[in-house]
Point group: C2
Chain length 450, copies 2
């Protein structure tokens, strides 16, 4: 049996960031990764023409300073997401292009959406990021689903349809599947709704040349053979004098362990002794979102010539959000689209051919007949991934923050928790993952014996 | 490596019932149980004076015909739960005794409670027991929490306080933690609210002399050494030609496997190949209830002399429900009480001494100063049990039935699912567990090769 000062479970951005900080402090660390690759929810892919696209998390926003620091440090380059021209909203069979703040909705619906957004953001302003369960109205906000809140606030069908697309676009989950308190915490964590949905100036502003998975790859390079791939962890034995981490192929002892995988997966490990009920109960109820991401490639970004940005909200079809995902040199056109929430579960029951046809049909409605003949189509169903089990991240249903929230990041003895779900800033995003890695590293370093 | 026709995981009522039916059909079966005892959520205990009490499920109702058949077959005896005299409801500092249908509430609150009960039961009548997600109003009912529904229906604080005690009494969970559709499914499954809350004529009518765990023990006796204790299962390998079940201490091959443990625990096993996303997603979000059950013993059932039945709803304190749990010969007095839902999580943070004092203080308010000096106190925190992780059972939050319900009992290849959570009749009860065992046995027997 080998040993390190610290073992980190999970070689995504959170785990690798933590490991590197531990190494930088002069301590030994081993990272155990279940997959045969690093980067977790970041995943690179090459289209048939060699153009790189990302099948997982891909965008970086201007206030995501921690992940931007890593990009700069590793000499990776960013480029702006294409955002010129008009967006399209498809509702009730009618595509509407717009380049203002109306989201292509009717005036009445746009006013309603704006009003509700204002109310939501005012409420979000009351939510504590570090301890949402201690927010002044926590109990009241946590007993409602987002869906119920929306429906008591408006009966404008178009506005409701818009929110029914926006909420899954942010969470890969339906408004009914989420606590209002969680929604408010999350939007505040990322700088409010405008920041989350915007391309320029918001969470989709920048892309990384070659793909975001390179950030994890560079982090892993700095760690060398401290990163062990294809080593799924099964059990953590822990006690007063240290931990032992049992994985397929061996065991490692350490002073402490950082578990840097989503809470639902962390709940599936065996702990000896078993975890306290508060922590265990939490992991029973942070389901991952449901999403199938598709990349549809064309010879050119033809929509640009029609004055379209490639951005769409589709309130009618299962492929509910698209953006222009063409390479920086526009050597071909790529649309990235998402089946999200209930749409993802519905699309998952289709054959691959049906799903592709469904995606292409939606693009034809949005961008015209040129969308009919893609040169390539790639998709990633994150729900089927054994070592992620859904993207973008874990969400908290009604009642969970107030009853279990305190256990989300609180260490259990020598076991510490990291991952995008544990961050109070940019929760659920790459930046949040990096922040959580720094936080967990600081926790363990403060406790390490000489 | 040994082999059986069928492997059953979990030696609770569901697993043992299934195993026995398989054996009766002339097939070989092995039951793997993680604990060093059978009976799962049934657990016997003896008070300091030797009187047996149950720390888990204990009551049987008259329509719970499947579990009653087992009791009769094994020659176990039942006796009626003590139910003479008046019940007590404590609200806002005032105990009110009653022996009618008012639950001890003010007239106005009683009318409101009755009206809401009627509305809930009318709605429950529209819910399909076999496929709740196909009920006519499924989407609408599944997007609401029970709490939101109640609050939009009444603003009578006393009626709301009553429901806030009744709902956890049935589910060990808060009204905010549960989908309205799940609540309606569950009450219909057990014959509506009156049937669920009643002692005589309802789910608490009968007790088993010596304890309900004996049912599982007798079932296990019929299976002999086919039941392997202390054998926690870690992995199920499955494919076209059979399954292999890996447990601490060995491996067994079989044609099929029945997983007869709660869904959240089933989700923690490793499956090779990994489970389909629909099933996996389900297990990410069926959290178990939160309950600490206490037994408080006195020299005599002194409350009976005061004309009290021992039944109470306590709307003020954490110990929210009690019943008379004295032995049939009344050789001593026993009150059984429950910390449920948020109260259980709150009580779990107390020291054992504080918790006992809290329980006894509540009993003094309900039954007078004679309650001050118990001769024994026993408690069981089901949340801390590694191989149950909460009682009474798993519940479905808002949106889960409609999105994932179809995967609750549907086999995945050669893997079948049993347990009280999978039953459409008396879901969550011992009777439902037995029914699920019969159903799962029938499934596998229909597929067995010669």
């Amino acid at each position: 049996m080998t040993s390190s000062d610290i073992v980190v479970i999970g070689a995504g951005l959170a785990g690798l960031t933590a490991a590197r900080a531990i190494r930088a402090a002069g301590r030994s660390v081993t990272v155990l990764e279940a997959r045969d690759r690093v980067a977790g929810r970041n995943l690179g892919h090459h289209l048939v023409n060699g153009v790189p696209v990302e099948m997982g998390g891909q965008w970086i926003g201007p206030t995501q300073t921690e992940v931007l620091k890593l990009i700069t440090e590793f000499g990776l380059e960013t480029f702006p997401t294409y955002d010129a021209g008009s967006a399209v909203t498809l509702y009730d069979g009618t595509p509407t292009t717009y380049s203002d703040e109306t989201f292509g909705l009717s005036e009445e619906a746009a006013v309603e959406v704006g009003r509700l957004q204002g109310e939501l953001e005012a409420l979000a302003g009351t939510v504590s990021l570090s301890s949402p369960w201690l927010s002044p109205q926590a109990a009241e906000l946590d007993r409602k689903t987002v869906d119920e809140w929306l429906r008591t606030k408006t009966d404008n069908a178009e506005a409701l349809a818009f929110w029914a697309a926006v909420v899954p676009a942010l969470f890969s989950a339906e408004p009914a599947e989420m606590s209002l308190l969680h929604f408010l915490f999350y939007i505040r964590s990322g700088g409010m709704i405008g920041s989350l949905v915007a391309t320029t100036g918001g969470a989709q502003e920048l892309r990384v040349v070659g793909g975001t998975h390179q950030i994890s790859e560079r982090l892993a390079e700095t760690l060398g053979d401290a990163v062990r791939l294809s080593s799924p962890v099964r059990k953590i034995s822990h006690g007063g004098d240290g931990v032992r981490v049992h994985f397929d192929g061996g065991e490692i002892s350490a002073q402490r362990v950082i578990v840097a995988i989503p809470p639902t997966l962390a709940g599936r490990l065996t702990y000896e002794p078993a975890l306290p009920a508060a922590r265990d109960g939490l992991t029973q109820q942070i389901p991952m979102g449901s999403v199938i991401k598709v990349q549809v490639a064309y010879p050119t970004p033809f929509w640009r010539e029609a004055g379209l940005s490639g951005f769409s909200f589709n309130l009618d079809d299962a492929l509910s959000v698209t953006l222009d995902n063409s390479p920086p040199d526009a050597s071909c056109g790529v649309v990235v689209g998402f089946f999200e929430g209930a749409h993802a579960r519905y699309a998952a029951r289709m054959s691959p051919e049906e799903r592709r046809a469904s995606a292409v049909a939606a693009l034809v409605k949005l961008f015209g007949p040129d969308a009919r003949q893609p040169i390539d189509y790639a998709e990633q169903n994150w729900m089927e991934e054994e070592y992620t089990r859904g993207c973008y991240g874990g969400r908290l249903g009604a009642g969970v923050w107030t009853q279990y929230g305190a256990a989300l990041a609180e260490p259990v003895g020598r076991i510490h928790w990291a991952g995008a779900e544990t961050s109070d800033v940019w929760n659920g995003y790459m930046d949040g993952a990096v922040r959580s890695g720094h936080r967990a590293a600081a926790e363990v370093l403060a406790h390490l014996e000489a």
